[in-house]
């Protein structure tokens, strides 16, 4: 551990494969089984390989599989798994309808990581600190998982099973995330606290609110870096739906958030501080989303 540093060169003790189609990728996955790893932008995987937390025999790059990249609008908004964080943040439909996701992408530490890192890599890596995860959760996104034989769509709320763990089965590839159209009167927001700008979060929060006049008709809240997986806050949501959207109501909901989360103390922050700021940014995100919902345009 001590010698396996994240800035050393990884020795090429693996084979590097570059499929051009999904079909080819599935064949390669089937051939090499559990010891193969998919590579999108590599900003998580390569760090893990340097630290020797991952030692794949085969690295299968998805960069040439064209069908995995890009954003298309239909009944749902489909974001290809290998779309870069930067492209997501600059996408017209994302800017128009999914503010929390756009803000999450813009909150990424540095431009270089935004250019290399992908949305699929972010959620498949399943770090509790993944910035897009809480945003995708509140936008009610689903993950499209394909294998050589079948396709299934898993709501993102059922996707994460633990730190670094997801429901993805051997042989499956995440091809896209799908976001339903936001309801009329929707506002959303994402906030992140980090130690310096170029850092992953100490805590992040995403919120979607749907309002009808002064009443909250729907609400979703999710936080990152406060538990083993990105967490949805059902209690706090329960306290808001059907209520009037007042600063007091939002503050009360934020208090529930601070109680419900299960943060730990690590190098980045203490448990206490995480609870403390979760309350503050949950409150602020709710207030912001509420205002945005009033501003008319379904955001």
């Amino acid at each position: 551990m001590f010698m396996n540093t994240n800035t050393r060169l990884v020795s090429p003790e693996f084979d590097y494969l570059q499929p051009k189609t999904l079909a080819e990728a599935f064949t390669m996955l089937a051939d090499h089984g559990g010891s193969a790893k998919l590579l999108a932008g590599g900003t998580d995987l390569l760090v893990q390989m340097k630290m020797e937390r991952q030692q794949p025999s085969h690295v299968i790059s998805l960069s040439r599989v064209k069908e995995l990249a890009g954003i298309t609008e239909g009944d749902v908004l489909t974001i290809g798994a290998t779309t870069s964080i930067r492209d997501v943040s600059r996408s017209g439909p994302v800017i128009a309808g999914y503010t929390a996701l756009q803000e999450a992408c813009n909150a990424y530490s540095t431009v270089s990581v935004m250019l290399m890192g992908t949305i699929g890599g972010n959620i498949c890596n399943a770090s509790p600190a993944a910035d897009t995860a809480p945003a995708l959760l509140v936008h009610d996104a689903s993950a499209v998982l394909r294998s050589g034989k079948a396709t299934r769509t898993v709501p993102l709320r059922d996707f994460f099973t633990g730190p670094g763990k997801t429901v993805i089965q051997p042989g499956e590839i995440l091809t896209a995330v799908e976001l339903p159209k936001p309801a009329k009167g929707t506002g959303s927001a994402f906030l992140k606290i980090s130690r310096v700008v170029a850092d992953i979060s100490q805590v992040c929060v995403a919120v979607v609110l749907v309002r009808d006049g002064d009443t909250i008709t729907d609400c979703r809240i999710a936080l990152g870096s406060v538990g083993p997986t990105p967490m949805r806050m059902k209690q706090a949501v329960g306290a808001l739906i059907g209520k009037r959207g007042t600063p007091e109501a939002f503050a009360a909901a934020a208090d529930i958030v601070a109680k419900d989360i299960t943060p730990i103390t690590d190098v980045r922050a203490t448990e206490k501080y995480r609870r403390h700021v979760s309350r503050i940014i949950a409150r602020d995100a709710l207030l912001t989303a509420w205002q945005r919902a009033a501003e008319g345009a379904a955001k």
Binding site: T5, N6, L9
Partner: protein, 774 residues
């Protein structure tokens, strides 16, 4: 950039042609276009690659070391352990000093029995590839039996503490006794007492330590490395039992040093492996090797007890200083000396009582870091001034104004400062540039903070500091400079070109500077202690003046005038009294060459020499001279989350005379950014001796996204000891930056966090505590 107008400052009537201008540096084009070779870019045929095996635990006894498997690995050329060393230890003192006997605090090169810090080197390997070397490390079998260690300075001072250093863990201690503090406190209306602490921090230079070594046809071990100190060649020779003449160190342009490349780093391992294998050896540290592999900035605990009259005059200053040394001495005694000397800050205090000590622990060892202890002293005395102002109900700037040292006043050690002391002007200019404080918005509070400082430049005078420099003119009229000075990114070589160019009338861009070679460039000491320009600049000035004098004498003969009527500019020689009389510089040089007039000069510059300060009273002279200035900061603090945003950051310094104004501003801006990180986010955290922040993803340096635009206000008193009246600015730009941030944060939140760094969590807690207390 601003200058005081000449009426206000009595500016001398000097018309420089190149000096003082903001010029593109001679090293800039190569860096901008990616052409500059750094030490790590050099390779040689048949070269081996080295790696270092480090102890995984901070305090242990080595009971077994078996390298047989590593040696047997195909592709491994050498594995060295303590058993293979002739000498076993290497000096950790300031290299190149002459006035004082080297301290007997040498460090083991490779662990022979006891491991005293996590990361201490146990074995070094050279192999055909980095991968084989890395693999070989994993084949080395080491048994380390933990022995009780000591991980904080309080425990280390207890009588039954494990002994890390000497018989009592005391690495150094000093006293200052000026006047009588009891008398001073008796005269005080108000006494303010506070304790301030600072943390371990990392130099975090962009370029980790790296070097390449080979043995040449004369049996000289050559090393090309990233270093601030080519003069460590002597320590390497001593550690290998070689004559000094058989080790040569050459630097390259360096990707940052900040004091972290003043000690021997990779050079000795490279030399040992080169000698053992007879082949060239390259060793490049990874970032984590760098975290484990060089000395850090000392954490300090500083207690200030200060007496004031009701109207804010300081009557007495009692200061207690403890620094953490880690297990080895390295620069700890000197760093402590700086902190002690700077103890009360840039203020006139008649009654001073300082006790200071440096304590050994099994945390990482510490060494030089930009400011060298004066930085930590400033963090304490400037926060103390703000706290005192609050208690006294006097404006913070006004309180300083009432106590600032003036030219000719005696500092804590009794030494009377001879150069201009323009702290007040700097303070006023910095505050004026800060402007109005914005109105608070909800949880966001705005704060202004200032810190003034005193920073010695040049080495402590008992080290008898000298620097040599060579200037010569080629037959075609081109100018060469040779100086042993290393160039660590501050533009050292460029400034030497500018100095020679000014005196010989040749544009700096047309001058070639050979530097940083311990064998072929005249030695000029380390680029440290804000001494680079002061020492090597003066040596090159003297050499250029001597050459110029001889050329001028010959030109005078040509013009039928006198030598002092001859001037040099734009590659022409002409008469001041009649500028129409000109001659190309080139032609004059050709005449001199044909007549055998010496066109070159090797000069030596000597800083003031002196003795140690009195050990009982701490009275005497420590530094040749001092730089003064002030830094002001505006911050916004989110009182709920504790997050700090630095909105404005203004450094105002009297630097005596700028040689290259752009380089001066670069030094200030870089030092300030480093100071901001020091105040807010940077911290090497050791838990029972284990580093828990071993990479740049845990150890947080600010990036451009965290930094405001930094404004520089450069005043020029022309009163310094450097060339043309320059003072040192390499460290001073950094010194007040961190305490200014701390004072701004305290101003914003109405309470203070006494422990660096000021993390959002500490700030949020302090706000809550203050609110509870009402």
């Amino acid at each position: 950039m601003n200058k005081l107008d000449s009426a206000a400052t009595g500016e001398h009537n000097v018309n420089f042609r190149q000096i003082g201008k903001a010029r593109t540096r001679t090293d800039s084009p190569g860096k901008v276009f990616g052409k500059t070779p750094y030490a790590g870019d050099y390779v040689m045929p048949d070269m081996l690659h080295a790696r270092v095996l480090r102890a995984k635990v901070p305090s242990a006894r080595m009971t077994r070391l078996d390298v047989s498997k590593a040696r047997a690995l195909p592709g491994v050329a050498a594995v060295l352990t303590f058993k293979d060393l002739k000498i076993g230890t290497v000096a950790t003192d300031i290299p190149g000093q002459t006035g004082f006997k080297r301290r007997a605090t040498d460090q083991q090169i490779l662990v022979d029995e006891l491991v005293r810090y996590q990361g201490e080197p146990i074995a070094i390997v050279a192999a055909e590839t980095v991968e084989i070397a890395q693999h070989a490390l994993s084949l080395i079998e080491v048994d380390l039996e933990p022995v009780p260690g000591v991980y904080n300075v309080f425990d280390a001072q207890k009588p039954d503490a494990p002994k890390v250093f000497g018989t009592d863990n005391l690495v150094a201690s000093y006293k200052v006794r000026k006047g009588d503090v009891e008398v001073g406190f008796a005269a005080a209306d108000v006494i303010v007492e506070n304790t301030f602490t600072t943390q371990y921090i990392e130099h975090a230079f962009l370029e980790p330590e790296v070097g390449l070594g080979w043995e040449d046809e004369q049996g000289v071990i050559n090393i090309r490395s990233s270093t601030q100190a080519v003069e460590t060649f002597r320590y390497i020779a001593d550690a290998m039992g070689l004559p000094h003449s058989k080790v040569r160190i050459r630097g390259a342009l360096v990707g940052g040093g900040f004091g972290g490349k003043c000690d021997v780093t990779v050079e000795l391992y490279i030399a040992l492996l080169t000698k053992a294998t007879g082949r060239p050896v390259r060793l490049g540290y990874s970032r984590e090797d760098s975290f484990y592999g060089h000395g850090k900035r000392h954490p300090f605990i500083i207690n200030h007890k200060t007496g004031f009259t009701r109207d804010g005059k300081i009557t007495a200053s009692k200061i207690d200083i403890t620094s953490e040394s880690g297990p080895y001495a390295f620069m700890s005694p000197y760093v402590l000396m700086y902190a002690t000397e700077a103890g009360p800050g840039p203020y006139l205090v008649d009654h001073v009582h300082i006790d200071s000590r440096s304590i050994a622990t099994n945390n990482m060892y510490t060494s030089a870091f930009r400011g060298f202890g004066a930085t930590q002293a400033c963090i304490a005395y400037e926060q103390q001034m703000d706290e005192a102002a609050k208690v006294l109900g006097i404006d913070r700037i006004e309180l300083r104004r009432r106590n600032l040292l003036k030219t000719g006043d005696a500092i804590a050690t009794g030494f009377k400062v001879q150069s201009a002391v323009w702290t007040e002007e700097c303070m006023d200019r910095a505050m004026a540039a800060l402007g109005e404080k914005p109105k608070d918005k909800g949880a966001i509070r705005y704060g202004h903070g200032l810190a003034a400082y005193q920073q010695g430049y040049g080495r402590m005078i008992w080290l008898h500091d000298t620097a040599e420099g060579w200037v010569g003119v080629e037959m075609d009229g081109t100018v060469l400079v040779r100086s042993g000075m290393t160039d660590i990114g501050a533009g050292q070589t460029s400034s030497l070109a500018q100095i020679a160019g000014e005196l010989l009338g040749i544009d700096m861009m047309d001058i070639t500077v050979y530097n940083s070679d311990s064998s072929t460039t005249p030695l000029a000491g380390t680029s440290s202690a804000s001494r680079g320009l002061y020492m090597s600049g003066n040596a090159v000035r003297l050499a250029a003046e001597a050459v110029r004098d001889r050329l001028a004498a010959r030109a005078a003969k040509h013009f039928g005038s006198t030598a002092d009527d001859v001037d040099f500019a734009n590659a022409q020689v002409f008469l001041k009294s009649d500028p129409r009389q000109t001659m190309p510089f080139k032609e004059l040089v050709a005449v001199c060459a044909s007549e055998g007039i010496h066109r070159a000069e090797l000069a030596i510059f000597r800083a003031p020499f002196g003795d140690w300060i009195d050990p009982e009273t701490g009275q005497g002279q420590v530094h040749p001279d001092y730089t003064y200035g002030a830094h002001a900061v505006q911050v916004a603090v989110d009182t709920e989350t504790g997050e700090v945003t630095i909105l404005k950051s203004i450094g105002a310094h009297d630097i005596g005379q700028a040689v290259n104004m752009a380089a001066v501003e670069g030094q200030i801006e870089g030092g300030v950014a480093q100071g901001h990180g020091y105040a807010l986010s940077e911290e090497l955290i050791y838990k029972d001796g284990y580093l828990v922040t071993p990479s740049l993803s845990e150890y947080l340096c600010p990036t451009s996204m965290d930094s405001p635009r930094i404004e520089c206000i450069v005043l020029e008193s022309r009163s310094g000891l450097g060339p043309f009246g320059a003072k040192g600015i390499g460290e001073p730009g950094h010194t007040p930056a961190a305490p200014a941030v701390a004072n701004a944060v305290a101003d914003a939140i109405g309470t203070r966090v006494f422990d660096f760094p000021l993390t959002p969590e500490k700030i949020a807690n302090a706000v809550r505590k203050a609110r509870k207390a009402g």
